[in-house]
Symmetry: C2
């Protein structure tokens, strides 16, 4: 018998895909599935199955999957619910190993739907077809540029996102993309009639492209098995979970959505803590936190040095302290050596280190960061508006001053390079806040290219640092148990 | 004696501005001040004062403010701290009524600085000059397109932002701008040697362009007077406050920043609750909340109807409920009449109303919103991805399907128009979530143009709704007291 990892290979890395129910009607899922495959980068064979149309999206069609001459690794099923049992049987007969069942109208609509869903699952099980769904919105796999879920293919990256909600999962993924975070996989898991959250988790644990696994869940179907799998996975990879249905009002709403019993939030909280799941309280926080976990070394403790002028430093210190991070006082040697780099009116540096509005060179700034990083009582660094000089160019609007701008940019690039080398050198994380919505400059590209996260606000950054600290503890504890 | 409002008119609506210390050196404040005035829309007279350069930014210079032939409403002072007493005396002699003192190196650096600051304040007081600062980063006033604070002039709008931190205040303002929120005023208040938070508040209370006042504060200088003024203002306009220095670590950092004593957070919390200040916990939340307060009618209670498919509805319900908002069950008449508009597989509508992925027309959707709004047990509406059809066009990437796209856009525009008329018609707020980072479409423009806020996430939206409910209570209570 094949392992789950072997079973899911054709799902995430298919050499050929058939869309059953491919359509020319834009509002239909069969249209979205075929056009996305054709237009967003998938390079395997694509077959359109539709018994009524000679062509769909300018592709010749097949009357049924049985008529397709070559092998089919993945079937995408979009036909009406009542036809799904027959189509699933066709897939089994054809020897299709994996399917994505988009169609809605199963367990989520009540008893009759549940009966139909069970029938489909039985056919698939007996026929050797593993499937996603039903009632999902598709998947994305960076491995094969296989995109069924989005209007455009997302950025490829180290975050796998498993979502029990299709619409919301897609929206979150798109926000993640706009923030520059890349996805290795996205799976809208739907009703989990066959493959369930824990199956995907087991696969993703071994997936080399995935460094962090993010879940949007409303309720766990097989809580016991999920917990067992997760306990193993957290030894190697962090798991971040956003749980919807945590209030009575939200919990009621999950029932008509995914027929999930959201369960007691206290119990869920206890499970997270016991297993070592990193729970986030706000949907958008998932990816901010994931980005740091995917790229930065884990800190050995929770003592953070902060760089930031004025209010930036204050707000960052508040945000860190309120999450339980520590902001240690600097020793007098460090204070003395930092003073050299500050302007005369700046107060003696504390933590947060305030540059007091001085225009320093990027190299000087990188030197300050390195000095702090080398101290054994500092476990990680948060740096507000790093490599400021380049920002001066854009923020202060130099007109006709190309020479000055070029010098600043050169200096910033040099500094960014220095910055980027530090996390690996000292085995400590650097996170930055750059209010980047306005500074889409070369420095941001270099920092992000080197895996140094660039956040919008001090609060986002503090949450990411806290998650690094927490996962370091989780992993140590989990590894100690074995 | 002039009122504070009369005294501050020349500050915010000057007919002429002199930059004392205007400079050709990009890294200097004197450069930024003169170039911003010249390049970002200010239309009054601009005078550059510099005794050493014949021209600055291609403007002829004056040796001192005394040499300027015409009257000067506003002096912007950027000379080194030790020169400021003389310059302030020159301003007094010239009869300049208002100044912005950018220069740092006063009370924030210690005792000697404090002595110098007191001296400057005394000269100004005796000479009839009211001034902002020192140690600030300038102001913005939409009234005269007077921009000293930003690289580019911000969007004009109904939010006044008073910030005790320059750098962070500017960064937040720029984020607000990127989110489409407009500012009537921005004031980086610096050390408040003369004008202080409560003076600006008193002015803004009467400012017709300002509908909401937002504060970033580290500590109140004249707590008693601020409270007295605020108690009056909240009868007419909401005050939102973000308080930095709420933890020990943050509080320590405020001392070297603005020499503020952050004080006990419990006391501050009690003051907010007693006075009716709307406190936000995360810096970026200020403007999300302000935008709703500036544009939407106040709800009469806290009962919210939610529209949103699947996870969107669940997460919105969670976010609302966890802030104490109520999500009432719908009555059976309403349920019956909503069912007509839903697809056959959709479950009977509850609250949240789930469209179950159906493609409805924008008009149908607006009709559902209106139906809910007309119910006397609904105080406000949160609508996820309103007027979805238009989004289909962009999200699902219609290629070569212009006719379909145009029809969708037409329908969405019609729906957006209907939507926009509803808050005034029923006197109830509508807030929307559109994940707008990816749907910069015409619908967003229409909604925002009509004052319907468009947020990125359900959580932002719930916070804004809660603030509307809270301010309705605050205002009622405050007005009842008089």
């Amino acid at each position: 018998m094949k392992t789950i990892v072997e079973q899911l290979e054709p799902l995430f890395k298919p050499e050929s895909v058939a869309v059953i129910g491919a359509s020319n009607t834009p509002a239909k899922w069969g249209f979205r599935m075929i056009t996305r495959l054709l237009q967003t980068g998938y390079r395997g064979a694509i077959y359109a199955v539709n018994p009524h149309e000679p062509k769909v999206a300018n592709q010749p069609t097949y009357r049924s999957i049985a008529d397709i001459p070559g092998k089919v690794d993945l079937a995408v099923i979009t036909v009406p619910a009542s036809h799904v049992p027959n189509v699933m049987q066709d897939c089994a007969n054809k020897g299709v190993p994996a399917a994505v069942l988009i169609t809605a109208g199963f367990a989520e609509v009540g008893y009759e739907g549940k009966v139909l869903e069970d029938k489909v699952a039985k056919i698939a099980r007996e026929g050797g077809v593993r499937f996603v769904g039903p009632n999902g919105m598709g998947i994305w796999s960076a491995a094969g540029m296989l995109n069924l879920a989005f209007g455009k293919a997302p950025l490829a990256g180290p975050i796998a996102f498993v979502s029990q909600s299709g619409t919301f999962g897609v929206a979150l993924s798109e926000i993640a993309g706009a923030k520059g975070y890349g996805l290795s996989k996205f799976i809208s898991i739907g009703n989990q009639a066959d493959l369930a959250a824990e199956d995907y988790l087991e696969y993703l644990a071994t997936d080399e492209e995935t460094k962090v696994v993010v879940f949007y869940m409303e309720g766990l179907k097989n809580g016991r098995r999920f917990i067992d799998v997760a306990k193993q996975v957290v030894k190697q990879k962090p798991i971040i979970i956003f749980k919807a249905g945590r209030t009575d009002a939200g919990s009621k709403a999950t029932q008509s959505h995914t027929a999930s019993l959201a369960g007691s939030d206290e119990i869920f909280e206890a499970v997270c803590s016991q297993v070592g799941l990193i729970r986030v309280r706000e949907a958008l926080h998932t990816f901010d936190v994931a980005e740091a976990l995917a790229h930065q070394p884990l800190p050995k403790g929770k003592r953070v040095a902060i760089l930031g002028s004025g209010g930036q430093g204050v707000v960052t210190a508040d945000a860190c302290a309120s999450l339980g991070l520590e902001i240690p006082e600097l020793d007098s040697d460090t204070v003395r050596s930092l003073m050299a780099g500050l302007p005369p009116h700046a107060p003696p540096p504390r933590n947060p280190v305030d540059f007091a509005g001085s225009v320093r060179t990027a190299k000087e700034e990188a030197a300050v960061v390195e000095k702090l990083m080398s101290r054994d009582y500092i476990d990680g660094i948060i740096c507000n508006t790093p490599l400021n000089p380049a920002a001066f160019g854009s923020t202060f609007g130099f007109t006709g001053m190309n020479k000055a701008l070029i010098d600043l940019a050169k200096s910033a690039i040099e500094g960014a390079d220095l910055f980027s080398s530090l996390p690996a050198k000292y085995g400590k994380p650097i996170l930055t806040v750059r209010f980047r919505r306005f500074s889409q400059d070369i420095v941001v590209d270099i920092l992000k290219g080197a895996g140094i996260p660039v956040y919008d606000t001090p609060e986002e950054t503090a949450r990411a640092m806290e998650a690094l600290v927490r996962y370091a503890e989780i992993r140590e504890r989990a590894q100690a148990k074995t």
